[in-house]
């Protein structure tokens, strides 16, 4: 694995290069000890779409996301984000996406404000952009000044999830990766998230979304991949097969050889 030390590449230019897919996962293998979780996975996520990843427990959804964001090393294959191989340009790639994990992973000793300030500083955001984005995102997710002034350790699961959502978008990324983002969210925040995802996509950005919530996937995604045994078992394009939005649950059960009662 070789890391390109040069920071001479223009990240903004790459992010706006329409010839490249947002995400390209080619023949990726990943094992934990003797257990191979990803067995030659191939996924292409186009620019400006919401791409869903579906699968029952243990088929490799989270591992796919972990490899995509660079949290876990993969054994074989290639992953590119906006055409940049993530192992060669890890830092450049990381500035292009925002990530929301299934379980909020935040610095619990910091207050909500301190954490957002830290994330904005780490991404090199300007003061003006930070103030503007924070006002917009806090207005959308309604975490509020009182909560943001408290240490994150005292937050409920839903509040932490909201904090994570705000942090993931504070630097206005081109790609938004969400792993089970609706767990713990109240109804209002859930609707806000749905609305935010659609608006984000409509602005030309890309989303990769995993969820066990088939209704959510059917509602917001443009295309969906159902994983089985470490590979994509079925790929559905809802623009070509719109009726499958309604039948997604049936397709899902069929992939795993089960019957929907």
């Amino acid at each position: 694995m070789k890391i390109k030390k040069s920071l001479e590449i223009d990240v903004d230019k790459i992010a706006n290069d329409l010839s490249q897919n947002a995400v390209s996962i080619v023949d990726v293998h990943k094992s934990y000890g003797d257990h191979e979780v990803l067995k030659g996975e191939n996924i292409e996520v186009r620019r400006g779409e919401i791409f869903g990843l579906l699968g029952k427990n243990g088929v490799g959804k989270s591992t796919t996301i972990d490899c995509l964001i660079g949290a876990k090393d993969f054994d074989q294959g290639e992953i590119k984000i906006f055409g940049l191989p993530i192992d060669e340009y890890p830092l450049e790639v990381k500035s292009l996406y925002g990530y929301v994990p299934s379980e909020p992973l935040l610095y619990e000793q910091m207050t909500g404000y301190e954490y957002l300030q830290f994330v904005a500083s780490a991404y090199g955001l300007s003061q003006e952009a930070f103030d503007k984005n924070l006002a917009f995102l806090d207005g959308a997710f309604q975490l509020g000044e009182e909560a943001l002034s408290r240490p994150i350790g005292g937050y409920s699961h839903g509040m932490k999830q909201k904090e994570g959502l705000i942090a993931s978008l504070i630097h206005n990324p081109k790609l938004w990766i969400l792993d089970e983002p609706t767990v713990g969210l109240d109804v209002m925040a859930y609707e806000t998230l749905l609305d935010m995802m659609k608006r984000y996509r409509d602005n030309g950005n890309t989303i990769v979304l995993t969820s066990h919530n088939i209704d959510l996937i059917a509602d917001v995604t443009d295309r969906v991949a159902i994983l089985n045994e470490g590979k994509v078992a079925t790929l559905i394009d809802f623009h070509k097969e719109p009726q499958k939005r309604k039948d997604l649950k049936l397709v899902f059960f069929k992939v795993y050889g089960a019957k929907l009662s």
Binding site: M1, I3, S62, D66, I69, G70, A71, K72, D73, D87, P90, L91, E92, K94, S95, Y99, P101, S102, E103, P104, L105, L106, Y107, E108, Q109, M110, T111, Y113, E114, L116, Q117, F118, V119, A120, S121, A122, Y123, G124, L125, S126, Q127, F130, L134, E145, E146, L148, S149, R150, P151, G153, G154, D179
Partner: protein, 538 residues
């Protein structure tokens, strides 16, 4: 159900790993306990002999005082454990949906805490009681009652512990987030422990030197202690029953009264306040508002430094392993080095005429050991991230920058504390100027090595491709202990056998310190690899 909870807690005490490693751990523990018991009884018997000559009341009052103080200390020391045990969040999440009452939880965990109190008292108090019995020619029933002592007194202790627990829990909650207050309290406790340590050390030195105890205990103290001893309830009452005193009924009633009162208070208060204590306190919701105007975007490196500061100094688990020690290192170094120098000069005066550098060597060894221990307390920069470790993998910041920020803060404050210790020692004349400079150079390299190699070792422990903490983890463990010992060994060997002038020996020691820098060229390459290999995720 209470029994299940009790057994579950006990299982947590069992050593983990393979059968061989478990057997080894248990064997090591038994050896450590045997050594401790041997030392404890030796000190007691030495003191007992001196106290019998010194005080007309004998050593019984002192034994009672010790047992009484230990009784309270064991209760106070068990409070954090009891808090973690009874208010453990994971247990709460698992048990709350199950048909398990709070009474079952309190009973099961209370029983576990009682067993722990009994075991610790059995190891600490019973040997002393037996030793006292042998020197005072007690009757056989005394020894039977001595063995039962931990079981009876721990009944009162567990009651007191449970009664104090709600108060402690509220206090701990109040302190949560008040980092300055925690630091002040931590420093205060460490100061108190240092004074206690100094006092015990002085007592120990007096025993070793066979000095009389007049300087430590006055006649009025002895008579005051004798008068106060009967009021050391419940210890004095049980002791009187053991010794076959004349007030059997009244002592028995006092003891039963103490057990019942504490049991009632403990169980009643804890049961009454258990549920309400688990709810978030109203005060927590009224936190001071932080002004948004202060939310300035910082440079990435400044932001990383600020994050490290928050993770290090707002984390209660570093209070006693690092933050407080930083403040106490100069004081502790002075107390220990000054006491040992006194011991050496008073006992080995003739020997030191020929080997005058011995106290210097000991001082250098201790100073370096303290510096190494303090700095290693904060060398786990990656573990400190806890859940935030994922941020290290997903943020667009270079591993070098993040490591540098992780290194600079603990390294800076550790060095500051170390320099202050060295300055205190040279200013008070405990070490000479040449040794001061040797200590500065060696200590700087040592602290820098322990901090940086320790951080790499910690990083390696999260790599899927490295077993344990890898090369740098092992190197840190070796360097932190072996380097001070090596320097001391070089010092002693050259001073005794070489006949070289002192300044040459000091220069050789400084040259040896440069050995610590040998692995440095491998660090950047290893760092990049380890960051790539580090696995983080949900």
């Amino acid at each position: 159900m209470s029994l299940h909870i009790f057994i579950n807690e006990l299982k947590g005490l069992l050593p983990k790993g393979s059968l061989l490693s478990r057997v080894l751990k248990i064997a090591l523990l038994l050896v450590a306990i045997a050594c401790f018991l041997g030392l404890e009884v030796y000190i007691y018997l030495a003191l007992d002999g001196q106290l019998k000559d010194f005080s007309s009341f004998g050593s019984g009052d002192f034994l009672l005082l010790f047992l009484f103080v230990y009784f309270f200390l064991s209760v106070l020391a068990s409070l954090p454990l009891a808090d973690r045990c009874l208010y453990r969040k994971l247990d709460e999440e698992i048990l709350s949906p199950l048909p398990v009452s709070d009474d079952d939880v309190i009973l099961g965990k209370g029983l576990y805490l009682y067993v722990r109190l009994v075991v610790s008292t059995l190891f600490l108090a019973t040997p002393l009681l037996i030793a006292y019995g042998t020197t005072s020619n007690m009757m056989p029933q005394y020894y039977v009652l001595a063995v039962l002592y931990p079981f009876v007194v721990s009944f009162v202790a567990i009651g007191l512990l449970l009664a104090l627990l709600p108060l402690y829990h509220r206090l701990a909650r109040f302190m949560k987030g008040k980092f300055l207050l925690q630091l002040i309290l931590g420093a205060g406790v460490t100061v108190a422990l240092c004074f206690l340590y100094q006092y015990v050390l002085e007592l120990f030195l007096n025993i070793v030197q066979g000095s009389r105890l007049d300087s430590l205990f006055s006649a009025s103290f002895l008579s005051g202690l004798h008068e106060a001893a009967p009021w050391f309830i419940p210890v004095s009452n049980y002791f009187a029953l053991m010794s076959g005193g004349d007030k059997v009924i009244s002592n028995l009633l006092y003891l039963l009264g103490a057990i019942l009162l504490m049991a009632f208070l403990g169980i009643y208060l804890l049961t009454y306040l258990y549920r309400s204590n688990k709810e978030p306190m109203a005060e927590e919701k009224k936190k001071k508002r932080e002004k948004k105007a202060a939310l300035r975007v910082l440079s990435p490196f400044k932001a990383l430094l600020k994050k490290e500061f928050i993770l290090l100094f707002r984390n209660g688990s570093y209070l006693f392993s690092f933050s407080s020690l930083l403040f106490m290192q100069p004081f502790l170094s002075y107390v220990v080095i000054a006491s040992l120098s006194r011991l050496l000069y008073s006992n080995l005066a003739i020997f030191l005429k020929y080997f005058s550098e011995l106290p210097n060597g000991v001082s250098l060894l201790l100073l370096l050991l303290f510096a190494s221990i303090v700095s290693s307390g904060a060398a786990d920069g990656i573990t400190r991230e806890e859940k935030g470790r994922l941020f290290l993998k997903t943020s667009p910041l270079s591993p070098f920058k993040m490591t540098l920020a992780k290194l600079l803060l603990p390294l800076g404050v550790s060095l500051f504390s170390f320099y202050l210790s060295a300055i205190v020692l040279v200013a008070t004349g405990e070490i000479g100027v040449p040794l001061f400079f040797v200590a500065l150079v060696s200590g700087t390299f040592l602290v820098a090595s322990v901090s940086s190699y320790g951080l790499l070792g910690d990083l390696a422990s999260y790599s899927a491709r490295v077993k344990g903490k890898g090369f740098f983890g092992s190197l840190t463990a070796i360097v932190s202990i072996a380097f001070p010992l090596l320097i001391a060994l070089v010092h002693f060997a050259l001073m005794f056998y070489s006949g070289l002038p002192s300044f040459v020996i000091y220069l050789i020691e400084v040259a040896f310190s440069f050995l610590l820098l040998l692995p440095l060229p491998f660090v950047p390459r290893r760092l990049d690899r380890l960051y790539l290999e580090m696995e983080a995720g949900v």
